[in-house]
């Protein structure tokens, strides 16, 4: 649903979140943002939010914080599935093209060698395995992350540029069933956060 957000705005500059015209629809709360100055308090806060049972929330950091996905209770990444599918497809494709082209479609004797054998096309199948598995890993990352998505409401946060520099923030989204503007704000303030800010949509 959030993807529609982009389409409703006519100013194309908004795609990259700069010189944004005042939004006419500033009433709805998107969520609450808590900022942190170091990874230690961020990690502890993530653990507590996870224990409190929130589901629609996320942590934003300029680099991957070690073990944070575990503290957030995230399941294992699905990217390896894409890689496996890519790799298997690559190997089969490599072998199939060598068989189809060398034995089935145009058999041609070269140096008295067989038209097809699983040995000589092995380097080709090997490289195809790696190529398609890498495509799987690369595009799998984009698919599982639902990227590219050039704008996201969290980027409207006034201190956003710091998040790709040296700041850390946690966003609790209003659509979460446990979300209550006042209660959640109080909860976030107990978590050693630097500040708690309401993010409007």
């Amino acid at each position: 649903m959030r993807a529609l957000h982009m389409g409703t705005i006519t100013n194309r500059n908004v795609l990259f979140n700069f010189e944004r015209p005042p939004n006419r629809n500033m009433s709805k709360t998107y969520g609450l943002i808590a900022t942190f100055g170091n990874t230690h308090s961020l990690y502890q806060a993530a653990e507590e939010i996870c224990e409190a049972g929130f589901r629609h929330w996320d942590v934003y950091s300029p680099f991957p914080v070690h073990g944070l996905e575990g503290a957030m209770g995230l399941p294992r990444s699905k990217v390896p599935t894409f890689t496996l599918i890519g790799g298997v497809t690559g190997f089969i494709t490599g072998m199939l093209i060598a068989w189809y082209m060398g034995e089935f479609d145009f058999p041609l004797v070269v140096g008295g060698k067989p038209y097809f054998s699983p040995i000589f096309p092995f380097p080709v199948a090997y490289e195809m395995t790696i190529l398609l598995a890498s495509f799987g890993a690369f595009f799998g990352m984009f698919i599982t992350n639902r990227l590219p998505r050039h704008h996201h409401p969290v980027m409207d946060f006034k201190k956003w540029p710091g998040i790709t520099d040296d700041q850390f923030l946690i966003l609790l989204e209003a659509r979460d069933e446990k979300f209550d503007l006042d209660e959640t704000r109080k909860f976030l303030e107990t978590l050693k956060s630097l500040e708690v800010v309401e993010l409007k949509e």
Binding site: L15, F16, T39, H40, L42, A46, D58, V59, Y60, S61, P62, F63, P64, V65, H66, G67, L68, E69, M72, L74, S77, V79, P80, T83, G94, I97, A98, G102, D105, F106, L108, V110, G111, K113, F120, P123, V124, E127, M128, I130, L131, A133, S134, A137, F138, G140, M141, F142, N145, L147, P148, H150, H152, M155, W160, P161, I163, T164, D165, D166
Partner: protein
Amino acid sequence: MAYTEEIPLVRPVVLDEVRQTHMPRKPLVENNRSFHWITEKICRIVEEKTPNWWWVCFLVAGFVASFTGVGLFYLVSTGVGVWGLRGPVYWGWAIVNFVFWIGIGHAGTLISAILCLLKQKWRTSINRTAEAMTIFAVMCAGIFPLFHVGRIWFAWWLFPLPNAQGVWPNFRSPLEWDVFAVSTYFMVSLLFWYMGMLPDLATLRDRAKKTWRKYFYGVLAMGWRGSCRHWANYEMAYLLLAGLSTPLVLSVHTIVSFDFAVANLPGWHTTIFPPYFVAGAIFSGFGMVLTLILPLRSIYGLHDLITQYHIDNMCKITLATGSMVGYGYAMEFFISWYGANPYEGFAFINRAFGPYWWAYLIMISCNVISPQLFWFRWIRENTALVWIVSIFVNIGMWFERFVIIVTSLANEYIPANWDYFTPTVVDIFTFIGTFGFFSFMFLLFIRFLPLMAMAEIKHVIPQADPHMHHEGPSHGNHHEPERTL
């Protein structure tokens, strides 16, 4: 224990207790720099006004690159004969240059993939530059076989694509394996490089002031926002790409060596070629990484990020791979004698003492002797000397390929066919031009893209560890994770 007390002269073999030795790890970023310092340092390189030296280098590089352009134009309009390719040396400089440039690329993948799997955190300061080097080196390499086909407009026949003749490529040929290996290598290196750059492009996007920068980095960053859910998938994909690039980089130079090893020519037909080619490739690549990184380090004052520890490590890898290459040379000689094949024996005697003795001498002195200087700490700590040795490594590795390819072909089985190979002017200028092209691309890279993996460097400094209490940068290095021996 009671036994040993009864005989006081006998000391217990094992210590009563194991005393742990604490060896603090060398800091990867010196002077305990903050996250913001790292961002500023690296982003400023692309944000500052274009320095004058950059323009000078850029114009010179562009001019030198034009040699390749003119040389290739002349080749296409005249014929491959302009490359001095004639019997018996039908594979002259073209293949020498191809193998040379492909080899250079291998250090980039070693640093980004193999060192990632081995959890060598020092790689974070140099991996971006090394990967860029890989990509541009593979571009330079690709030029030679591509134009060697002569009629460049038919180069697409290399790929198994349907054509009017209904004939397919020959999959029994190592040259066809090479097509797959090199194109896969280029593609995967590019994906790995780009994916690693996403978080840093997002940083540049968020810092951008000018409109064109916002669009340029905004589009390239793909909307990266550093979400933890994204990082989890990203790190998994990164690890997988590292795991895939490792067998890839080993296979690429193996397959390149098959181009020679599968042939029956004395001096080529040997099973040592794959490992020895891979070691040589990594050796030459580290030579080039040092050649590129050391000037960048002093121009941009990156001494806190590329520390003496990094240079030491690179020198040691150069030393190790250089020694492997030296072992390869020695073993080739031994086997040619031990194998008792007179043609093999002749090929190697001829290599060292025949008409190309000078090339062999350059190869041995640059590749085997010069890296041995890295045993000495004072040499590793003298940046100028390290740089000079790295240049020797580059020269030596080019000559290695020249020696392997030209000496074996020029004096093969039938003495009536023998010839002394000399390159043409077109050969020389086309090759020199590739250095211009490489520098041209590299200069564009340092001007427009993040030179170092900021997110990865931030990840490995002590402040990034969520299980350490850190009150501020004043606490210095005692927060360093310690290694227990």
